[in-house]
């Protein structure tokens, strides 16, 4: 399973999102690969992703995708990440 953590310029907040998503997945005992990427690459990197994690601000930049888009409000809130990932993947 592949999950993409998206930020605007790819060297930014996506790494925080990736790290905390991995922690949330470990809590859920779900085995998935989390990749950090930017808006310019999301169509390529996210082509085979099941879930795209991002900020509400970036949803409009994603374009067409088959992945579930999961909006995270607080990137440091592991409870929020865990609940939303469980909903998306459950």
């Amino acid at each position: 399973m592949k999950i993409v953590a998206l930020c605007g310029v790819g060297v930014g907040t996506s790494a925080i999102l990736k790290m905390n998503a991995e922690r949330a997945l470990a809590r859920l005992d779900i085995d998935a690969e989390v990749t950090a990427t930017d808006v310019a690459s999301v169509q390529t990197v996210g082509a085979d992703a099941q879930v795209i994690l991002t900020s509400s601000e970036l949803v409009a930049h994603i374009g067409k995708t088959n992945a579930d888009i999961v909006v995270i409000d607080n990137y440091f809130d592991l409870d929020e990440l865990t609940t939303k990932l469980e909903d998306a993947l459950g």
């Binding site: 930020c7 605007g8 310029v9 790819g10 060297v11 930014g12 907040t13 790494a15 925080i16 790290m19 905390n20 950090a36 808006v39 991002t54 900020s55 509400s56 601000e57 970036l58 930049h61 409000d73 607080n74 990137y75 440091f76 809130d77 592991l78």
Partner: protein, 158 residues
């Protein structure tokens, strides 16, 4: 990995700004003063928000201003700005912002290590309000787990 040293020049406490651009500019000024970036980087951090919106406001009250690595990044660096009056960045959930971190890195890999450390710190929800309430550099450094650079007394404000 530890965060880089945080010199006094990279810290601005309780400043007054009119809007988010001024807040990000203050974070950029901290990076410039501490020798991390040239002034062009500050504009690039603002451009990122103009282009992609306020997604840099990644938690309630906290903006992580940053741009891609580039020739205007002299060395990796972090700056910390706290605002006397919080300002709106336009984020639907996490406004208003009272703490702005400026982040500059020279490579994407370095960035990953730095933000990993930031994630470790800020996963504790008490840190953002504590930073916003800090009254001196020693308090800020202590919360971030960083030290003063060699030759600079910890906690002494100029």
């Amino acid at each position: 990995m530890q965060l880089p040293d945080l010199p006094l020049t990279a810290i601005a406490i309780g400043i007054h700004v009119a809007d988010w651009r001024a807040a990000v500019t203050a974070a950029g000024d901290g990076l410039v003063r501490s020798g991390s970036t040239g002034p062009g980087y500050t504009k690039r951090m603002i451009d990122v928000i103009d282009e992609f919106g306020a997604y840099v406001v990644i938690a309630p009250g906290l903006a992580l201003a940053h741009a891609r690595p580039g020739p205007d990044v002299i060395a990796e660096g972090l700056s910390v700005v706290t605002l006397a009056e919080p300002v709106a960045f336009g984020h639907p959930h996490n406004d208003p912002v009272s703490v702005v971190l400026g982040l500059a890195v020279t490579t994407g890999d370095e960035h990953v290590l730095l933000v990993a450390e930031l994630a470790n710190l800020f996963n504790d929800p008490r840190v953002i309000p504590a930073l916003a309430a800090a009254t001196d550099a020693a308090g800020i450094r202590s919360l971030l787990g960083v030290t003063a650079p060699a030759g600079e007394a910890n906690g002494v404000r100029e």
